[in-house]
Symmetry: C4
Subunit: 348 residues, 4 copies
């Protein structure tokens, strides 16, 4: 089976992953409307390609928060990579480093932050944080991440409670006994109730700020109002995201929300987006609409499920090739030439 595009990896993962793992990765909240809209919304954006520009020398590199990456696609934070591949997040870290891009490791990793760091020394990594009721545990994680060389702290804002994912309820989803959320093992012992703290507010950004010198990126913003609040509270970056459609169903598609966030932010901080990226041309659309970089979630998991580190590299390489080709066919030789003039919204 030739792996030609990302759907090929999706088909492979659906076929070979245990159903409970596939369902967990694929799940959207409620009717999965937002999960699917994330993809459909990209299709409603049309290119306005320009011709006869010299695209013989293509430069697709970019920088996020000052660090250069080989192309504007990073790995979004997702949990439980061992469900996809035995080495779990260690493989993810290796693939990201090999492709010279950024990997956002999740609080809900099945490897410790030390293991992730040790697996791919020198790689560009950010750490994604859920603030837990046990604030000391959260503090410890943040400081550990900083000490291990993670270069950004990503606060997930859209999960005061977990969304209702019907398939997971039906399956009674839980991690197999031999896997653990290793970063939280201690914390899990402290309290049996849900560890997530639903009382987190904007003021907690100041608390995080007091804990670390790392840049803080907030993930899960979908409105201009919250984008303005994020900027005012001093974050360094915003990831526009609806959590892959796994939290509140029937909110905006990620790429649609990006437009209003970028408009509000007016360049004061970097804006990224995740959710619905399936082709290199989707990356180009997101950049044209103002994203500095995109992050992929499920496609990275499909790559892991296919062949671990190597499979994820395949996924990234395909996206990279498609992105480069899309840029060239749209008439851009470097990322700096990409702008809103390249796209229009279809009326259909």
């Amino acid at each position: 089976m030739a792996m030609v595009c990302l759907s090929d990896f999706e088909a492979y993962a659906k076929k070979y992953l245990p159903k409970i793992a596939w369902d967990y990765f694929a799940a959207g909240a409620d009717d999965c409307t937002t999960r699917d809209e994330n993809i459909l919304a990209y299709k409603r954006i049309r290119f306005r390609p320009r011709m006869l520009r010299d695209v013989s020398m293509m430069d697709i590199r970019t920088k996020i928060l000052g660090s250069e990456i080989s192309f504007p696609v990073g790995i979004a934070p997702t949990g439980f990579h061992q469900l996809a591949w035995p080495d779990g997040e260690k493989s993810t870290a290796r693939a990201a480093r090999a492709m010279n891009t950024c990997y956002i490791a999740s609080t809900y990793s099945t490897c410790t932050l030390e293991e992730i760091s040790a697996a791919a020394p020198g790689g560009l990594r950010w750490f994604q944080l859920y603030i837990h009721r046990n604030r000391a545990a959260s503090q410890q994680l943040v400081q550990q991440a900083e000490a291990l060389g993670f270069q950004g702290l990503v606060l997930t804002a859209d999960l005061p409670y977990t969304g209702k994912r019907r398939a997971d309820v039906r399956n009674g989803f839980r991690l197999p006994p031999h896997m653990k959320v290793k970063n939280l093992e201690q914390a899990f012992e402290v309290c049996k109730m849900s560890l997530l703290d639903p009382s987190v507010t904007w003021n907690d950004i100041y608390w995080l700020r007091s804990l670390t010198c790392l840049p803080i990126i907030i993930k899960g913003i979908l409105t201009r109002e919250d984008a303005e609040l994020a900027v005012r509270h001093g974050v360094q970056g915003i990831i526009v995201s609806n959590h892959g459609g796994r939290q509140l169903d029937e909110g905006p598609a990620a790429i649609d929300a990006l437009v209003e966030v970028v408009e509000e932010v007016r360049g004061r901080v970097e804006v990224y987006v995740d959710g619905g990226i399936r082709k290199g041309s989707d990356v180009l659309k997101a950049l044209a609409l103002g994203a500095k970089c995109v992050f992929i979630g499920r496609p990275a998991l499909w790559g892991l499920a296919y062949k671990g580190e190597e499979g994820l590299q395949d996924v990234l390489r395909i996206l990279q090739d498609e992105f480069r080709l899309s840029m060239a066919l749209a008439g851009c030789a470097s990322v700096s030439e990409v702008g809103q003039h390249l796209v229009q919204f279809s009326k259909l």
Copy 2:
């Protein structure tokens, strides 16, 4: 079979109810366009969820006409509950009381008002009235309802004649011999022709007013013009409704009509809506667009068909949990924080 969402109850009812009963409950007029639009119209509304608000203490209670209910979902008036469950409306009344919400008992109940009252003393109930040609019979029912402690009188305005529901015509639908429209047994004996009075006009609100001290709620309003007339004729509440799509096909979806009614009414009376509610987030959308409360029709019948009183409680509990979670994920800790800023209409 795990009952995770309302569609699970629908599937159960479709499988286990006699076809003639399922068809009667499921029926829409003509092509069933409006019945189906009621659901689709909710999907065209998108949330604008807000992040990082303290949603640790959720309060989802509300009041309708001064009475507190545990969450803004009541039971819409539907006929013939014994078709779904042997105890019929008695089970409905018990479930509504157990969940601390409002049940609107139909003129076309298969239990008497006394039986309904006795089944769940102290429950919050309104009585739904069709005005019949035999005005004395209607008067008697209204006064009996008031005497039995019903706290509201719901006048259905959209049924001068019964809509054309093709499946019922094909099935030759009629109640099985052992079931009776008990509230009307006497009236049925008086005249053989259709009992519904198609000459009812707005002035009959004054007549009703003369019969009872109960608040009058008018059900079946779909336009701003009729909403204004309702307010002027002194009703206390309006239920925006197209009768579940069972009367005039190809009128507006209930949630779309709600918007124009709310705009016209400007808070002078309470506005409710029924038709198309299938998820907790639908309730949140209706509230964001100005409804004080929603009512569910078919889903209540599916709950009854599943396990009577217990099944209906399951349905209500699922809606309650979903509504609470949607509110939290949208950033609202109490119903008073829900407003139009939470939603936008999709252009698609």
Copy 3:
């Protein structure tokens, strides 16, 4: 099989007519887009129904060019009724008279005008004319129709050449040998080439005017510009029509074109519409948008195919019942109360 709505007759006809006849009646030009749009366009129109009006006494009669009909639905001109029922147009004439409505007999009838007249003396009938190259033959037909008591002359304007109906080409459609276009037998002998005259222009209205005192109705108008020309050339009525989607594919749906024609005509002549009527509520929509009456084509043929005169009466009676019910549920007790306030165009 219960005949509950017009689709039931369609299903019957599709099952029992010879394929070549079914295909001929069902055919649309090219991709059949306009044929299907005629129906879909009705679905995009939404009612704004009004409540609590006295609809106990319903009056659904109307007048067309001064003649009263029992409800605003007549029989559109279609050819070759013997393909549907042995008695052909004689049955059609009888059914129309029995239901007290207007029948427009086609030039391409398989009975002579005399036979049609004799079959249902006293019925309200108009005669539909194609102008042929042999003008004398056309003149003779017009004058014969007038002499036989036909009360209107309908000039079809949209068929300078016959549209390309792929199924007819594939089937090699032609009348069976025992059927004849009896009104044109002589004309057919005169010339072998196509008899239709593609050089007809607006000036030929004056020529028709010189031949007969009958009111002239022009059929096939789809634009405001042509509507204005029709009025200026002195016609008494306009039938907005795209020939059931059988001529130029991908023109406007009939009901959409009606809106612009009515706007242009401003009541100077009566405007009718055919194409896409499948339910009583479609009739109500057309009237709300300014049509004085609608005409049905294919549904009449399905009725004939079902049981000849009796089947066509069934079709008309169902439409009549549905129309009366729709009017009542929309809050109108007589046709004079129907107006544009009753409808709105869906944005979807």
Copy 4:
């Protein structure tokens, strides 16, 4: 099997061509969205047909760059005609001449320009050029084309690199060993890397201008900005085209881009369009929106696949008949009467 419309030829070709050849001709880039949109976009355009005009004498001829053709449909440049029919481009040339229309021969022909010329002396032909890294080879081809009597030079602007056509990647598409890109045999020997020069810019129009007196037509323009640049750089014609959806996926449909290009060009040069033409009425729509002529790609290949020269003539004759009929039914007797008043964009 009767060949009634172009879809019949498509079905034939799909059935009888080797899969690898069918896939190559059918391929679109990535998700094939633009390939399919080319067709769907025509369906969103509605005619406004006019009645009672004298259409007895139809004249469907037109001129492109001064040369008369029998109707406004030419053959777009496509590669590898021997994949469809043994005689390849020689058959194409003969059919185009027989039907008195223009054939644009591709650089990637499987016959030499001499063979094509010799096959149909006197036919109207343009030569399509890809500029290659080996500029001398390109120069030689241009001058050879001029010497052989080709009357126009078509520069393809949208292929700095080849689009990603998944099926071709999966099939490992390449020409069978017995076929050759004969025009480039020498060039192919010179270098093994891709021959296409991705550094081509607008200035290369001046270089081409210096090589030949032929009119230069630029193919692949999709925006008003590039249309203005084309005019300023002195081209004689513009072919609005997205390369049949084979290059950048999710750009505009060809007919939608035509509208903005025509608006920008304001008649300063001739504008043509290719992509999505499947019926005679599509040709009429393109002309109404300002195209001087359209070109067909895949339908020509289906015709070749059916019966070579004869099959392509069948395709052209069907389009011609359909175009003539559409014009007549829309009320136009000659191409000069076709204008924007004939069409409107559907809101759906």
